[in-house]
Symmetry: C4
Subunit: 270 residues, 4 copies
């Protein structure tokens, strides 16, 4: 029995956005060779993202983070199937937007890579995608309690956090995994134009215009979930971040480089 609260209302805005995606992306097809070499600094950022999300407890042995190929929007970069804490530059593979590896190098691909490919198709504004089992968002995904921002570093949640119900696309008997493009497309539609969507009984997908922003969004989504859960336990009405505050913060330049500098140091020791 699925609660009505679990049914995600995909906004027409999001659908329109998904329909109007960049023409280059729509033309994605089977890979016919690499889109070219990548700046080692970008690969290093991807390695940092893997490790820091493990260090901060958003990843255990699972979870993955990708970046769109800077030379070709129809490609993305993602580690082979490997615990994120162990990822190094040599583990990164290139995929097309149907999530076929350009050169699998004999390695096993992440089962749920379709999350990444389908989000990149639907969201030309997105350059980085994270899928995590961020622990404190899972309880929000299985109850009717909406995740809402209570803290200024999570104001980006003010636009709402949809909950994707895999049964809507996959029927009642899935194994809960995003194993193909159809499921990934459904998840991307639920995400719409938002930065974060929860996946019922599973985790979340978090997107951003670059790797550091996506990592920051994922980290503060988890922090906010903890704070909101504590506030609920205290009892009484909660003053959430208002739409005006959220919108103002969206436009405000912040000290965001501080966090990435710390995380790089923690992840790489430099």
């Amino acid at each position: 029995m699925i609660s009505l609260l679990r049914v995600v209302a995909v906004s027409t805005v999001a659908l329109a956005l998904a329909a109007g995606i960049d023409q280059r992306i729509a033309e994605a097809q089977a890979p016919t060779g690499s889109a070219g070499p990548i700046d080692p600094a970008l690969i290093e950022d991807l390695v940092v993202a893997n490790r820091v999300l493990a260090q901060e407890g958003l990843f255990d042995a699972y979870g993955h983070v990708s970046v769109r190929h800077p030379a070709n929007p129809n490609r993305y970069l993602l580690s082979r199937s490997l615990a994120p804490a162990l990822v190094t530059a040599g583990d990164i593979l290139e995929y097309d937007l149907d999530s076929n590896p350009v050169d699998p190098k004999g390695e096993r691909s992440v089962l749920e890579r379709f999350i990444h490919g389908e989000v990149y198709k639907a969201r030309p504004d997105v350059t980085a995608v994270i899928h995590s089992h961020s622990p404190t968002v899972v309880p929000f995904s299985v109850t009717g309690v909406p995740l809402r921002p209570v803290m200024h570093n999570a104001t980006f949640l003010w636009v709402g956090v949809p909950v994707w119900e895999i049964r809507e696309a996959g029927g009642p008997g899935t194994d809960m995994l995003v194993r193909n493009g159809a499921l990934g497309k459904s998840l991307a539609a639920a995400l719409g134009d938002k930065p974060v969507a929860l996946m019922r009984g599973h985790g979340n997908v978090v997107v951003g215009p670059d790797i550091p922003t996506a990592v920051r969004y994922a980290y503060y989504t988890e922090v906010n979930a903890r704070l909101q859960a504590m506030a609920i336990a205290l009892g009484g009405p909660i003053t959430y971040i208002s739409p005006e505050e959220g919108a103002a913060r969206d436009k405000s330049p912040g000290d965001f480089a501080r966090a990435w500098e710390l995380w790089r140091k923690n992840a790489l020791g430099k």
Copy 2:
């Protein structure tokens, strides 16, 4: 006063399974010599299991994990009484299914080893057994709230998690420990054909077809207990993993090697 909710309904399926165990197991008797040398890789896996369950907080100074002898199903391997974080290959002893050490080597045996012996007798499908005081399962064991899967990595709990009440077998005045075969047999009967059973006011027993699977089950049982407790605290109805989803996941090959690779590295530094 024992709540009716604490009384474990041992399924007839489980009892039938226990009755129909492998004939070789039923013939177990006092040990008359080792069942033979063990592959060092299997012993290393057992050492990894001890250490990783300590690192992940499921073991403190207590808790134990065993593996059935690969050459003789009437034998199992278990560390001498030692804090799991300190276990090395040299600490592993061999036991028969009545939990007599084949060669005690002058060492103290784990008091509650009967958990292992009796489960191996009752469950020919089981190759690894864990007993832990996994912290977040204890609260579920003393309340009427059933532990149920809320997260896709704990779908294996969909078959139900029995709670074993030691008073059913041992009367009102036990010291809470599984000190003999009769108590171990009662616990194994409560476990039935399930992967996990809780022990009231004590912890749990977790079984699997191999060491990595049993460790994964134990780890995600703890994770799920935390998530379910948080979901309950949020209030409102909870969408649990459905039987269809659980059954589908049981049959789905997963990226499970990822977790073991990480845990080995964390436990052994390699």
Copy 3:
């Protein structure tokens, strides 16, 4: 919609105190040169404060701590914009009380430094100021539940913990940050003569007569918030620290050097 409980009642005592501040502070103006060299031991204490508040989980990549210049009460010392865990002596800059850097050295200043300058203006008794996102105080800041002392090491909270609502001073559309002197002044007025004020949906400001005391106040404010939240979850009436007990402890010499000695060692390895 702002709950009445969120509206901070600024005490007339505090306003009078703010009006009667030290004449030297009132004469603060644009900086015209450093107030002079600082004892390296004081700078080291400031570095310790940054690092220990990170180690104890009150700071993540954000949060800051300052000290009033010992030679000139119209100046204060604060790290450039940098994650607190990374701060070293070379990162400390000097500011006037309007929070202009005396010599920015080409570095980015902390956006919310106005918290520090305005508190130093309003509180001549204060020598150290901390701004943190101390995790467990945020839930208290967004609910109507007042933070009150439950533990003897947090008795300093007996005077009450105001909650500052940024909308009172900045209107409904701020980005939640204390970006200018007017907002800082409003926060300082809400703080009044207290050691701690919460900032709605943000964190807190904590002040003290010296760095170790301010750090101790910040640390035990977080500890007390956790204990109070747990006590509330247990249910039933709570026996808070009474005004008599709080006042008695305010006057009692304590073993407070013990904590600083440990924190120095943890922060500096010496």
Copy 4:
């Protein structure tokens, strides 16, 4: 206003025991020289106890643990005022039972050492005393919810956990600290013949027949408090450890050396 539930019912048994203490203890007076050298192994155990209680989170910069002098029951050994994580053998001082240092060596004594002296006077069966701010017991100390055993490793709590209200002995205006013998005596009377008493808004006192047992009691009191709090949060009636089970476990030899071996290794690296 003190809840009736906070008023500790000092059992007549405990008072009788306190009255009938060992005659040698009753004759305690001002120290006139050391009771003699101590086995370095006992001092090392005391150092281990200090460090492990810090590592396990029961001590922060505060908390202390003592042992009765093996050669003279009228003396006890306790570190000078120092964060427990930093204690070494050279920091241990000798005290008489009025808590006067035999030779202060120019060091500051722990303010609340009277807890130790008065408990040793009242309890000839006790050889080790711990005072901690064990985090999860404080919420139980300020609510009417009694701490009761839910887990088999905390069965020793079955005899009940009194809560000492300092106002009963010290009046409404204490600074919450056990600063003299009269307060210590009142606390010891509240403890009675139990292993653990809570101190309202403060922490607990835990006693045992030797150092490892007292540390084990302190550790599992904290663990049990966490589990009981979680069980209460789950809702519904709780099955506590019964008196029969508690009494049976009191008499049962356990694998207790395992824990001390691990803790020694964690504390000393050997």
